[in-house]
């Protein structure tokens, strides 16, 4: 395996790459569906969230639980890119995150 000399590695790669943007969901939100995706990794956390949303109606709210920072960083971004509204990205315990999204 080839190792890049450290001076070629950008600083951002030396830091933790995954920094979920914390958004506190409004307290009066009630989810139409919840989906436990613990144990799943990127990009399948997004793929399964997207498939779940496809089975729901426009305007409905989905909450997904993921257990890694990478998913908590990327899933909200990808859901937003597809036109949905991310209402919350919250750390709910030591490892798990709850992402709340309204279907476009």
């Amino acid at each position: 395996m080839y190792h890049f000399p450290c001076y070629l590695i950008p600083d951002t790669y030396k830091m933790n790459r995954w920094n979920p943007t914390i958004i506190n969901a409004p307290s009066d939100i009630s989810a139409d569906e919840t989906f436990d995706l613990k144990g799943e990794i990127c990009p399948y956390t997004f793929v399964k969230s997207k498939l779940m949303l496809e089975m729901m109606e426009s305007g409905q709210i989905l909450q997904v639980i993921v257990d890694n920072d990478e998913s908590a960083t990327n899933v909200p971004k990808s859901l937003t890119n597809e036109g949905n509204t991310v209402l919350g990205t919250e750390k709910i315990n030591e490892t798990d995150w709850m992402i709340t999204v309204r279907k476009k």
Binding site: Y44, K50, M52
Partner: protein, 283 residues
Amino acid sequence: MLGFTNEQIYRYSRHIILPDVGGAGQKKLLKAKVLLIGAGGLGSPTAMYLAAAGVGTLGIVEFDTVDLSNLQRQLLHRTQDVGRPKIDSAQDTINALNPDVRVVKHKVVLDSTNVMDIIKDYDIIVNGTDNFPTRYLVNDACVFAGKPLVDGSIFMFEGQATVYDAAHDGPCYRCLFPTPPPPGEVPSCQEAGVLGVLPGIIGSIQAIEVIKLILGKGDSLKGRLLLFDAMAMEFREMKIEKDPHCPVCGEHPTITELIDYEQFCGVPFPAAPELLEPELVLV
């Protein structure tokens, strides 16, 4: 779960992620029925990419056996397949790649007596034929049945691809080339040669067009003839229009039933003088 098996979610994840595919598009692919005319140079990449994409039913029309000289370009077949029916090695390769795909084998020589019955069950027909009688036969049959025909042809270092869809205001093959010339005026396929990679390019373009038609997304090659020159490494495009005087799809068609032409190999372009190169097909 979610309308897919867990394995399917993983297998097709890179499609499902695409905004223009998603779960709904992937389900369309899994339900689609596509017929490949030929499992040779063009049919190989088309079949493999459509199988990988999860096109649920792939029909293959092929009666030939694998020859050592096929392996330079026909990726469905392996050295150990020499002498086997191509349709059997094609099925093995496709099912090894993706067991979701149902392969329907049509081990026949296409002619006017069987073509309508074979194509009737399919949504889209893909032309990978190596001869002109079949090319005209399949074109006419698709016009009569109202099916889109994703066409490709290759010759030496050049290839072409387009989509004929006479049922939806597109041209058909006879709009460009109304009738074949007499047999004997054209050189033999075996003498011409073809770059082995070339069908990989053209067959892959055909696979893309099939997937776009199934998804109902993008701009198809309907009404456009895409020309590829590997030596110049250049793509060109020619607008092609429906001919109101076309003998088969025009306003007053003179060809109203299927014709079995005698076997011959290539024809010069009769209706497109701007194209100087003779079109030969070697698959």
